[in-house]
Symmetry: C2
Subunit: 263 residues, 2 copies
């Protein structure tokens, strides 16, 4: 069992309630990362489902979460041969952190009937830039959990040279050796800096809605995470993410709508 | 008041319940169109919200709906200065048709801080193909409510010449003169034939999750609806839709995960 498996563990209390402990190792400047929180929530949803995989997850984020004990509350809305639909809430101190709708199903390993390629070609990994390791006193503890090698222009904002368009692209794997699985993918779809940083924005960019689809079970090895956006307007932006596995298969897709950073 | 306004009307019973009447004019081979059903649900959500616009909607579709009386049941989860989050269900004869999470906010008309262009350039309207009018006995009543002028290769499947990739693109407006608004956009994001038809699939392709974002209030005139998909695999496909208004502004984005047609 890896640290990530432990940090996302959900303990069944009864058929509608799971106890979880939100881990301090996944914070981004204080609040916990949204992808990590989804992974925790999905552990409980899948444990309670007759199906094995969280195929589609729509999560709305109500407030920031800090580490500590919390609960996942479930209501199965419909279950059938192909899929089960569950309403799931992540609750901390009586406050709802995430409200979500999740469809679980069991994916096979079929060869795709049709597939597109990545929307952008990544440079080879040796030409990429590694995210600097967090300083000891940093409250970006998430960075210590994963290895990210960025397509250089998309991380230029870190040194004052934003590319001028909303984008972020990186190779990703967990720092502790771990084959990717659906929970790692829940983290991966929300693991990059907000795409608006590359368009020159800064500050906390809270997610309002993040919907992601698990398209296939990922093969072992590095993941490629490609993020972009179409519009920054009226204080809102979209962030679209594709995740490809080491065999070149599309394994996850997400889109979030978020608020442009303040402060 | 247009026919569409009437067909999507929601009558307040109390703060958590609205009566609606699902209109037979929006069926696709029997069941009602998912975009139409979202429009009905969103009328109730917005009426009960202190904010004016349905900015993000995540809807999971539990079963097909037929015309007749139904209810929208609401629970406001959180409300604040910027946004209100609501859980909303469309219920018919005691069965949940749609479960959704909706964030309402009030959009201004700000000039975008950054915007991409359409992912595909449409040919001029005079080179497009009009959807054939439905036969009188048709149960595709939805087609009579809207005018669609298709980018020719994307409707080739109708005459046995699918383009070989999941796609659909058309100019769209309501058949009855009506300026587009957020409810028309809810219809527009689900108004095209399933993109998999163009990849050679056929049959009923039920939506499991449809999440859409209202990005700006649309200007009067034609809308341009551009749909594509990335992967058809394991019985599932994604359908991504952009809607642009007559001034060339991105007004809506959606992605749905659906099942490949059976029968």
């Amino acid at each position: 069992m890896t640290k990530f498996d432990e940090a996302t563990g959900a303990i069944r209390v009864d058929e509608t309630t799971y106890d979880v402990c939100l881990d301090p190792g996944y914070s981004i400047g204080g609040p916990l990362n949204g992808g990590y929180l989804m992974a925790v929530l999905l552990r409980a949803v899948v444990d309670a489902s007759p199906h094995e995989h969280p195929v589609t997850t729509s999560a709305q984020f109500l407030r920031a979460a800090v580490p500590g004990p919390a609960q996942v509350r479930l209501e199965q809305i419909k279950t059938g041969r192909t899929a089960t639909m569950t309403r799931a809430s992540l609750v901390r101190d009586g406050d709802s952190i995430i409200e979500s709708l999740v469809t679980t199903a069991t994916l096979g390993g079929a060869v795709p009937d049709w597939t597109d390629g990545p929307s952008v070609t990544m440079p080879p990994m040796e030409q990429c830039l590694w995210l600097p390791a967090p300083k000891i006193e940093s409250n970006m503890t998430l960075n210590a959990q994963m290895e990210l090698a960025f397509d250089p222009p998309t991380i230029g904002w870190l040194e004052g040279r934003p590319s001028g368009r909303p984008e972020a692209r990186a190779y990703f794997r967990m720092a502790e050796p771990q084959d990717p699985d659906p929970y790692v993918l829940a983290l991966a779809v929300d693991c990059l800096p907000p795409v608006v940083f590359s368009a020159g924005e800064r500050g906390w960019a809270p997610t309002v809605d993040l919907t992601w689809h698990l398209r296939a079970l990922p093969a072992p090895g590095w993941l490629t995470v490609i993020a972009g956006g179409r519009l920054i307007s009226d204080g809102w932006f979209d962030e679209d993410v594709e995740v490809w596995d080491s065999t070149g298969r599309l394994v996850a897709q997400s889109r979030q709508l978020a608020r442009v950073g303040r402060g």
